[in-house]
């Protein structure tokens, strides 16, 4: 994702709202989500990895689907990842990193994104 432009600003705004919601308001709607990861974590990942409109579209669809008419279950955010981009590989810097996500490639274009759990480090 580009680190500039209106999409970036809007994404961060939404991320701020999600952060606030997850910190203070989840208790009001606790235990309602039919999916793993929950709608808010799904939206968070979407807005971190996709352009604003795309993320908004996928998050809205996800929330609309989160009702008893749908089965729920596992639904990880799917984003386009640049596995075939060779230039990306050349830019790689080898240093100690903090793992935030695991990108699981589906095919040449798309990855599933799994959130990393800090507990797994130990």
């Amino acid at each position: 994702m580009k680190k500039t432009g209106i999409s970036f600003i809007l994404n961060n705004l939404i991320l701020l709202i999600i952060k606030f919601y997850q910190k203070y308001l989840t208790i009001l709607s606790f235990g309602s989500c039919r999916y793993h990861p929950t709608c808010s974590s799904y939206a968070k990942v979407q807005f971190e990895h996709n352009s604003f409109l795309k993320a908004l579209y996928f998050s809205t669809i996800r929330i609309l689907k989160c009702n008893p008419l749908f089965d729920g279950g596992f639904d990880y955010p799917k984003v386009r990842c640049m596995s075939d981009d060779k230039s990306q590989l050349k830019k790689l810097k080898f240093k100690k990193i903090k793992v935030k996500y695991w990108k699981v490639p589906l095919n040449n274009k798309y990855c599933l994104i799994l959130q990393h759990n800090k507990k797994w480090d130990k």
Binding site: S32, R34, C39, N67, F70, G73
Partner: protein, 554 residues
């Protein structure tokens, strides 16, 4: 050790979150009580003082006072051109018109000085009939000429009236106001209708251009909960709201068909859907909007001054309902009001209307919620397995939720209601809140026994407490899958927080929430019972089979 620290921290953060929630609720309530309400009183007092001071001052410099017309040329500094709104002390009532719904008083400058609502419903807290306007503001039908000389003269010349007292309760009645000035003669032909609205045809001779105004907004209830100011609708279907004290620059609008100045429940409106008007919005000394309609040398308009009652307004013209606005939730509050109004036409009581609407909405959503409840019950039978999982992944919420989801998948049942139903509640809730605040129909609307006004809080806190009780019950009989004991405790504490929060909410809104909970509890109880019965049946069947086998062996 590290693990222990972690759980400690978690407990503490959750306690902090709970504390933050409670404090923020408390803050909003305190803010309302100690800041908004006293401030409103202060404003009222200041207004009263200002009115007296202004009248005194105007006595002194009556002649030097200019009621200037709006100046459209941009070269002139707008603040100078802004008309000074005032009440010339020598005004007196020259004509009184009575209709079925109100009494108009026309002053010696041909303006509507006061409108008194005579319907029994419209009384203030001292049981006086409601008078719409305060003394020191711009009056409806005030005319200002663009030529300053004519303008000054017009505010020193009395009008001639065709009749000092008119009765329009039976049929429409015409009043002619004539103001003879040295260069021009202004005539206003007012036709009053029994239903309380009027038509105005104003014309000047010698092509003297003038402006006419629907007046400054009524000043009965203008508080901080709802919008008040000016509203214009345009031919293209758009709507422009100019709030009080928010006008920093004069504004020109064309293609206008409705110009309205409004407070919470009342409005003064000039409209004509057959012509497109040009309108200037000027600011007064409080930066509040004053509307001036460009009349050139003649104009024909319809007028309405009174409550923003849906039926009254749509009886005049269907499109006039746009004058009623519910803030930025209008898009959902308006359909909500239409639905409530429709049910009210059969029920006849607003309290019961809310009750039936809630039940109706719940019934429509029944297939959805029923499915959720059934699968929730199916999972109740897996309780031991769920507990085992919870124990196993006590310290890793993410993993616990993952394994739980796997279990659901295996069993083909998902106990959660989903995010959408929860989110859908929010707009419905706000829509009802805004309708309760803004719709004059719901002002002073009773329900049963002690509830005399659904738009005010329950004076004895009965409904909020019932609401809290049903919420508690709902939590009790709804199987939940909460893993964390601290979180569970917080969850159980929620009904208390909600009850506290709802104590000061409009009774109608609390009623909605209460009925909503009640229906859910009943439904859950019913589903639980069916499942319990089925379980017993299966059990007895099982035992029977067993005993059968045993007897066979023998």
């Amino acid at each position: 050790m590290a693990l222990n620290d972690n759980t400690m921290n978690k407990e503490q953060t959750q306690k902090r979150i709970l504390l933050a929630t409670v404090i923020s609720f408390a803050f909003f309530i305190a803010y309302d009580f100690f800041y908004l309400q006293p401030k409103q009183e202060l404003v009222n007092q200041a207004n009263a003082k200002n009115a007296i001071a202004l009248e005194k001052q105007q006595d002194k410099n009556n002649i030097s006072n200019l009621n200037q017309a709006p100046v459209t040329s941009s070269s002139v500094d707008n603040t100078n051109a802004a008309p000074v709104s005032n009440d010339i002390s020598s005004t007196k009532i020259v004509s009184t018109i009575k209709t079925q719904k109100n009494i108009f008083e026309i002053d010696n400058f041909g303006r509507i000085a006061q409108v008194t609502l005579t319907e029994a419903k419209y009384i203030d807290k001292d049981n006086n009939q409601i008078k719409l306007f305060t003394s020191n503001q711009l009056r409806p039908l005030e005319v200002r000429f663009s030529d300053p000389k004519i303008n000054t003269e017009s505010f020193a010349t009395n009008v001639e009236v065709s009749s000092a007292k008119l009765d329009a309760t039976k049929q429409k009645t015409v009043l002619v106001l004539t103001q003879k000035l040295s260069n021009t003669t202004l005539t206003k032909v007012l036709t009053f209708y029994p239903d309380g609205h009027y038509d105005v045809k104003a014309a000047s001779t010698n092509k003297a251009t003038f402006f006419i105004t629907p007046g400054f907004r009524p000043d009965v209830i203008a508080d901080m909960y709802t919008d008040h100011g000016a509203l214009v609708t345009l031919n293209d279907g758009t709507l422009d709201i100019i709030k009080d004290t928010k006008v920093d620059k004069s504004k020109e609008l064309i293609g206008v068909n409705v110009a309205s100045a409004f407070d919470r429940y009342y409005a003064t409106v000039l409209y004509n859907y057959d012509v497109s008007m040009a309108v200037s919005i000027m600011k007064d000394k409080n930066d509040s909007p004053q509307i001036f309609i460009h009349a050139n040398d003649k104009i024909s308009l319809h007028g309405y001054t009174g409550p923003k009652n849906y039926n009254n307004l749509t009886a005049l013209d269907k499109r006039l309902s746009s004058v009623i606005e519910y803030g930025w939730f209008t898009f959902i509050a308006k359909p909500m009001f239409s639905m409530l109004q429709f049910i009210y036409s059969y029920v006849g009581n607003w309290g019961w209307t809310i009750v039936f609407t809630t039940i109706l909405v719940k019934l429509i959503l029944l297939p959805l919620s029923h499915k959720g409840m059934v699968s929730m019950n199916r999972l109740k039978e897996l309780a031991p397995k769920v507990k085992e999982l919870q124990e196993k992944y006590k310290d890793d919420k993410q993993k616990a939720s993952m394994h739980m989801m796997e279990l659901y998948k295996k069993e083909g049942a998902n106990p959660m209601g989903g995010c959408l139903p929860v989110l859908l509640q929010i707009p419905i809730f706000f829509a009802i809140y805004r309708v309760l605040l803004n719709a004059i129909e719901l002002k002073g609307a009773p329900w049963i026994f002690w509830i005399e006004d659904l738009s005010l809080m329950d004076p004895y806190y009965v409904i909020p407490i019932l609401m809290g009780a049903t919420m508690f019950l709902q939590q009790k009989i709804t199987p939940n899958t909460m893993t964390d004991p601290v979180q569970q405790k917080m969850f159980q504490f929620l009904p208390v927080v909600f009850t506290f929060f709802f104590l000061w909410f409009p009774a109608g809104l609390t009623l909605y929430w209460f009925i909503n909970n009640l229906v859910t509890v009943t439904q859950q109880y019913y589903v639980n019972r069916i499942f319990a019965k089925a379980k017993v049946e299966r059990h007895t069947k099982h035992i029977n089979e067993k005993s059968h086998k045993v007897s066979k062996k023998k």
